[in-house]
């Protein structure tokens, strides 16, 4: 810490620090492990100096930090995916996994009830996420949460499109499946953050998203 001047300042600084520590969770895990502590320390130093300058200065610090947050978070996630071809392949696989059984059933068993298609979507998403994730309960929890989100998405899609989907709509299915897979991955990220937030020791080293 860099010498705040009063007890109130210490409390304000502690709150600001907690909030910024929460925002740091948006960065990829390996980046956070390498630089998270230092980033928090730098933020605390900025905030402490701002508190000494006056009440408006802390808002300016938050303005600076929040304005760079989106671009830098995206940049770090992009670097992470682009810098590891194996991981990129797993992301693509997780996104496209729901497509395979869904397309197969839509094509070759068009008369089957919707429940089968939905089950196929669920199984595909689960398989994709489990295969792309690590081992252990947190990773499986992420996979199932992601699959559930994908399933909810599938329900919405099916409610609008009414299967069986014609063979000519493969590109549409591809697009929707990818969207479902991306949604599943996004939910799995949120679940991971929640699990880490309650002190879980579980990590998914192979696929830290």
């Amino acid at each position: 810490m860099f010498g705040p001047v009063s007890h109130d300042d210490v409390e304000v600084l502690r709150r600001a620090s907690r909030r910024y520590a929460g925002l740091l969770r948006l960065y990829p895990a390996d980046f956070r492990r390498a630089h998270g502590d230092e980033m928090l320390e730098a933020f605390e130093a900025m905030a402490a100096e701002a508190l000494r300058s006056g009440p408006g200065a802390l808002r300016a610090v938050w303005g600076r930090v929040l304005s760079e947050l989106g671009p830098t978070v995206l940049q770090e996630h992009w670097d992470r995916v682009a810098g590891a071809p194996g991981r990129s392949a797993r992301v693509v696989f997780a996104c496209l996994a729901p497509l395979v059984p869904y397309c197969f059933l839509a094509q070759f068993a068009p008369g089957w009830p919707e429940a089968f298609l939905i089950t196929a979507w669920l199984v595909g998403t689960c398989a994709g996420l489990v295969a792309s994730g690590g081992r252990g309960r947190p990773c499986h929890a992420r996979a199932f949460a992601g699959a559930a989100a994908s399933l909810a998405f599938a329900f919405c899609v099916l409610a609008v499109l009414r299967p069986p989907v014609s063979a000519g709509a493969v590109w549409g299915i591809l697009l929707l499946s990818t969207a479902g897979g991306v949604l599943a991955l996004a939910v799995s990220v949120v679940v991971r953050m929640a699990l880490e937030g309650v002190g879980s020791k579980g990590r998914c080293p192979q696929f830290a998203y």
Partner: protein, 114 residues
């Protein structure tokens, strides 16, 4: 590989000696007359790339003395300072030379006076 403007400013900040993260932010702001202000995300994103490029290296916090030593003792999270490597100094010098050439060209065309 050529440093981008943020990386160049960090290289300049470190040219005078090793600094920790917040020290780099302050030095960049001071050197630019307050026009360039780095946040932690921008700074450490750039540092990550510069470590990878071999332009900077981490050094454990040593007995720097004064307030810095006190801060390191109070806050156990502080782990390292950063300093230029030989490759980083060369990259900074090359970038500075290119900028100097451009400034010289601008002066010859009457855009600025030197």
């Amino acid at each position: 590989m050529v440093p981008n403007p943020t990386e160049f400013q960090i290289l300049l900040a470190l040219a005078a000696g090793e600094l920790h993260g917040y020290g780099i932010m302050q030095e960049v702001e001071r050197a630019s007359g307050g026009t360039a202000r780095l946040g932690p995300g921008t700074l450490y994103g750039a540092i990550k790339r510069m470590l990878r490029a071999g332009w900077v290296e981490q050094t454990p916090v040593g007995p720097a003395g004064g307030a810095d030593e006190d801060a390191a003792a109070v806050d156990p999270r502080r782990r390292c300072n950063y300093r230029l490597t030989r490759a980083g100094r060369k990259a900074a010098a090359d970038a500075a030379r290119r900028l100097a050439d451009l400034v010289s060209a601008a002066a010859q065309r009457g855009l600025i006076s030197m």
